[in-house]
Every structure is written in structure tokens, then in C-alpha cells.
Amino acid sequence: MRWAWIALALALLAYPLVFTSPFYQDAGALVLLAAISASAWNVVGGYAGQISVGHAMFYGAGAYLPLLLHQHWHLPPILGVPLAIAVSLALALVVGFPTFRLQGHYFSMATLAVAELIRIVVSNWELLGAAIGLQGPAVSKNWWDLTFRSAVPYYYIFLAVLALLLYVTWHMQESRLGYYLRAIRSGERAARSLGVPVRRYKLFALMLSATFTSLAGSLYAFKTGFVDPESGLGILVSVQMIIIAALGGTGTLLGPLLGAVILVPLQTTTNTLFGGGGAGLTFIVYGGIIVLIARFEPGGLLELWHRLTAPRTRRAPAPRHAA
């Protein structure tokens, strides 16, 4: 197990050195970025089982605020990162506080509604560039502009953030918080009967998730130097996180990374093959994946892997003394 971790870390570290073509380096950075946002979504959507369909609001806050500071006040974009996290936490409270009292789909519907509302407002707000969007620094004046020509620096920054996020998630998984979140996912009534303060834990998970999703949005803005309502706040941003996490395995540590490694190259390929006409294709691919996961393995690929490698644990042997 330990060796598997070291091998994975080495492979991720070595990737840009082995694949030196800018195309592959760029693709690698995109995979890591998608893995960060899907892993962040996974904290509340996977572990706690509270399906957010509006994580784009946090991602968008992360992407817009650094570029806003730069474009309007000529401040270093990096100052927008903590600001964006603060805004995301406030949004998380606004959405989570009223809806987490209820069970079921209210939270999902609220996230969807708020995210779409924000997208529409931003699309019409001149300060935020309306439909055109915002731009980052064209050329780097200082290192803290985080503007690089090559994808390699981004790759390693993304890798560091992903490592931090996975470490936090792993730590959470092995602590009371992780146990409580999984209990909430399995059954709120039972969790409550064992003393789990369900609402507080759900809120905490959402805030942790929002923080890292916002960070992912900021990293996206640094890398592309540009954001518009579709790329920062569009419904596809939220859906992509869900699909990637679900494909690999929700509520698992490495599921979102696995999902990103498979899905992002697939998207890049369809985009290159079909060009602009491929945009609609993304929806079709997403829809197809949802159908396949829901029909054959709701636990995602990691669950499938566990099932195939350990068929013994599928059913318990009949207890010797049943009762």
C-alpha cells in the first residue's frame, strides 16, 4: 500500500519531465486541476452524500475575484485568492444554513438555483465584464502574478494543491469528522440517534469543500488568464466535478483523481477531433457516463475494482449463531 502511494507520487512528479511536449504538459495540468475541483466536491458530495449541483458558484468566485482585482484596481491577482475563499464560505453558509435542516434534494435544488442565479447576474454585470468576462495579466511583471508561458510551473503548483487537499481529505477520512459524514450519508436519522450533530457537520463539510473549490477556480484563472460566465460559472463546471468524482468513485480518496485521469483526456480528444462542434458532444459524453454509472456501478470505478479483486467480501458467510 505504501509502495503504491510512493509510485503514484513519483509518477505524478515525473510526468512533465517524461512528456516534454507542451501539449501533454498542458493536458497534465488540466487533469490535475479537474482532480482538485472534483476532490473538493467529493468532500461534501461524496463523503457527506450532499449532492451539490452548484459548485460552480465557488469555482466562479475563485476565478473572478483575482482577475477583478487585477483588471480594475491593478492589484496582484493573488490577493483575490483569500477574498474569493471568504466569499465562497459566505455563499456556503447562505445555501447550507437553511437547506441542511432538511433531508433529501432541497440542498441540491438550492445549489443549482443559486449557482444559475449568480451566473445570470454576473453575465449582466459590467464590473465583472458581463458576457465578455475578465482578463488577467498578459505578461508577468512579478512572480506573484503567477503568469507563466509554460504549463510546467502550473502543473507543479496544481500538484502541490492536490497533494494538500488529498492529505486533508485523508486526515478527515480517518477522524471523527469522516466517520460522522459517512454516517450522515448512510442515514441522517440513525446518525442523529448516535449523537451526530448532523446540520453542523454538513455545513462544515460544505465549507471545507467550498474553500478548495474556490482555490481550484483561482488556479484556473491564473493558468488561462481569462474567465467568462460559461467557463467560470456555467452548469458544466459543476456537472464536470460530479461526473469525474462519480466515475472514479464518490466518497473515496483517490476516486476523483482516477476519474479526472480518464475523463479529461477523453474531453480533450473529442474537442480536438470535433473542434467547436464538439461542445454539444461533451453533454452527450457526460450523459452517457451518468447512465453507465447509475446502471452498472453506482460506486464508480474504484468500487468496481474492489468488487472484482475481492469477490469474497460481497456476501457475509452465514453467521454461525444467527441473532
Binding site: 440517534s193 457475509a316 444467527a322
Partner: protein
Amino acid sequence: MLLSAEKVTKRFAGFTAVAEADLMVEEGEIVGLIGPNGAGKSTFFNCVAGDLTPTSGRIRFAGVDVTHAPAEAHARLGIGRTFQVPATFEEMTILDNVMVGAYLRHHGWRAARAKALQVLEMTGLKDQAELRAKSLGTPGRKRLEIARVLASEPRLMLLDEALAGLTPSEIQRAIALVRDIHKLGITIVIVEHIMEVILTLAQRVLVFNQGRVIASGKPQEVIDDPAVIEAYLGRGHGRAARQP
């Protein structure tokens, strides 16, 4: 007095499920709640567990008023409960299920795990610790629910038909487990359909009918009570019992 529920009433949109029910439980007792289907036992039980808030009345536990407290506060104060339909955490292992309970009083992973393993040993689930809860059948799930509650170290344990649906030999084992739990000093309130279970386990029985407590006392006295016979078997039999 460990638990005192006074004049507890619960109405659902005009329908009175429980009407002015009283229940006093001393520390160390085993009290049974019986009654025909729809008599209000489960509703009353859920009021005591904090899952439902009574429309009126007052519930005190260990001197604290818990009438309006949420279910998680009940658990923290020391009221544990099982569910009529087992609500185990299906995707989690049996050990992890019990650890959720253990985390209530033990904050560290190591301490929670030690507590959970100890409880699994006592409840006879240790061999299956690493299996997922969904791999268990109904008897196993009921046992797991009891284990989960035990790990949370309750003072009072509310068992909601923990023995329904078990075979006679499973019932014997479950009764033995309830006795073991009682020996730990845990007070028990048990809702049960099966008379045999109540007669062997409970020291005191309350009989519910149409939302009211119609009789209470020692099990043997209660089942001879004409009102109880009438509630279970209908009016004609009640009269027959009164005029032998």
C-alpha cells in the same frame, strides 16, 4: 427517577396518536411497552428518543428537561435507541458502524476503535467486523444496531422491536444479550410485540391502546387484566374474561 414522561400527547394533523401517556423509569429497570398495532407505542417511543417533539407534556431524563431537545442531544445525555426497521449504515463496515457510536464519548481514533472492538466482542460480531453492514441479514442488523448504541455508552437504552422477525433460537440469543446489557447497569425500555419476550424480560409493563396507557404493572398481572385482553382480542373476549 432516571426517566419521567408526564402527560405526553402527540397529535398529527388532528389525529391523536398518543394521549397523556405517563412513563416513569427507575435506574436499573427493564420496562416493556406493549399494545396492539397502531396503539401509539412507537410514537410515544419516538417522543422519548427525541425523534418527535410531543405536542404537549413533559419529558425529563436524569433531571434534565429533554421535551424539546433534538435527537442528538438525547444521545449525548445518554439515551440510546434502536429502530423498528434497522437503520444500519449499509456501505460502512460493521466495525465502522460501531465506531460512529463510539466516537460520541471517545474522540481519538484509537480510543474509539478500542471501544468498538470491545463492544463487537460482547455482541458476538467480531468475526464479521470488516464486512459491510449490508451483508448482514435482519437478525445481524438488529444486533449491530444494539452494538452501535452500546458503543455510545448510554444510561438508558430504548429497544424498538429489537426481536421482531427473529427465529425462536435467535430470540433466545437476543434475550441473553439484553440481559448482558442490563447487567452492565444500563436501564432498558423495550417495545415488543412478542408476549413471551416481555414476560421473560420486563419487570414492569405498560399497555397502550388507542394512544392511551390502559394498564401498567407486573407482566403477569397485566396480561390478566380484562381491559388488556379486550384491547388485544376485542370486546367479546374481554367480557368473557370478566365473567368466567
